[in-house]
Amino acid sequence: MRRGVGIGGINQQLLEKAKFSEKGSELARDHLEKLAKQFETFRDNLEKFAEKHRNEIKKDLKFRQQFQDMCATVGVDPLASSKGFWSQVLGVGDFYYELAVQIVEVCVATSAQNGGLISLDELLLRVRKARGKSKSAQDVSTDDILRAIKKLRALGDGFAVIEPTNGQGRILIQCIPGELSMDHTAILNSLQTRSSFTKEQLRDQLKWSDERIEAAIDFMVKEGLVWIDNNGRYTEYYFPGLFTAQRVTNGESV
């Protein structure tokens, strides 16, 4: 084969390069189109599937979760819009709307007691109590609760999920109008599985100044979030919602 030398050869090489890249993008375009078509087909099938299994999705906890996961993979959110195909034709959304209302009811009913801070486990326990005894009513998971709360957040700042930063401890639901500051969330996170803290512990764990600690505690006392225990060796501050959460975990009455 003759090697391309000189001006002619260089031009030849450039030409080939251009042709290659053209072919390349053509292939990519093809690929993309095919993929898009595949997704389209998949979505169609998913919709057909959902329609066919509507009852299972509403009633069966495991089925529902897998369906949600499958939807998430292809970027479909069955709860995205109340007017969308999903909720209108399938009524999948109804399940979560109903659940959301029950969550609000439980949070309002218990907020006098816990200052608006409740653990996910206790919330689930109380929602189940409110839903009645039938198998399908009881088939609610923490995953469902979190999804319903995500829906509720569309209504404003009323609801927030506080997740433990290091993956240890429990997930908390905060249903207080207005936000907790970073400091308050940091205190909650530092507790892990405990339900109380002392000033000394905060000083050690968070390395905050006394003023900062005082300010955070004052706020939480004023908002009714913490109760004070003066009868121990040190003054301790308790979150009633976390205390009852522990009892729920231990299977004790709340």
Binding site: W227, D229, N231, E236, R247, S253
Partner: protein, 178 residues
């Protein structure tokens, strides 16, 4: 009666700050609400009808050995005053040492007793306090074995309505229902 754990009546009893009077007034209100329900539920369950401040430290709801917490005298005063203002206790003496615990109001008690008497056809019969309170016939009645002080207080209520006449004969107290 089987030993009832007080924390089964209310989880608050295991909650250490429950025994510290809360500085935040909203929280304190909730705390006193919970304390009032706890005391009344306990008394109803154990049929406790009187309370003596001198024995306060021995009154089971007022301490929890498990968490090493107890109410101090100041807190007990605040709680008793709260119960009084709600009509759930009545002082029996000027010095506020002894009181009746009314988990049922005197009016409700009066109704209960009068209904029982009528249902058993005992109107017009003279009965002694003793047979009504401790006799075999009243064993199943709600007022069986209630404190004589409370019983007398309820009969006063019935006398006011003209449904009973209380008298004393040779030191034995009796009552005639009409």
């Amino acid at each position: 009666m089987a030993a009832t754990k007080i924390s089964d009546i209310s989880w608050h009893h295991d909650f250490p700050p429950f025994f510290t009077l809360q500085p935040n007034l909203d929280t304190r209100r909730k705390q006193l609400d919970a304390w009032c329900s706890l005391v009344l539920d306990y008394c109803r369950l154990k049929k406790v009808c009187t309370f003596d401040v001198n024995d306060a430290s021995k009154f089971p709801p007022f301490f929890n050995a498990k968490i090493n917490r107890q109410l101090d005298n100041n807190f007990i005063q605040v709680l008793l005053e709260e119960l009084r203002s709600r009509g759930n206790i009545e002082w029996e003496d000027k010095h506020k040492r002894r009181c009746l615990v009314l988990w049922k109001s005197p009016e409700e008690w009066a109704k209960t007793i009068y209904q029982w008497i009528t249902a058993h056809g005992m109107n017009g019969t003279v009965c002694t306090f003793y047979e009504l309170l401790h006799g075999d016939d009243t064993r199943s009645a709600e007022f069986h074995n209630i404190d004589p002080h409370l019983f007398r207080r309820v009969l006063m209520e019935l006398e006011k309505r003209g449904q009973a006449t209380v008298f004393s004969d040779n030191g034995a107290d009796g009552v005639k229902f009409s």
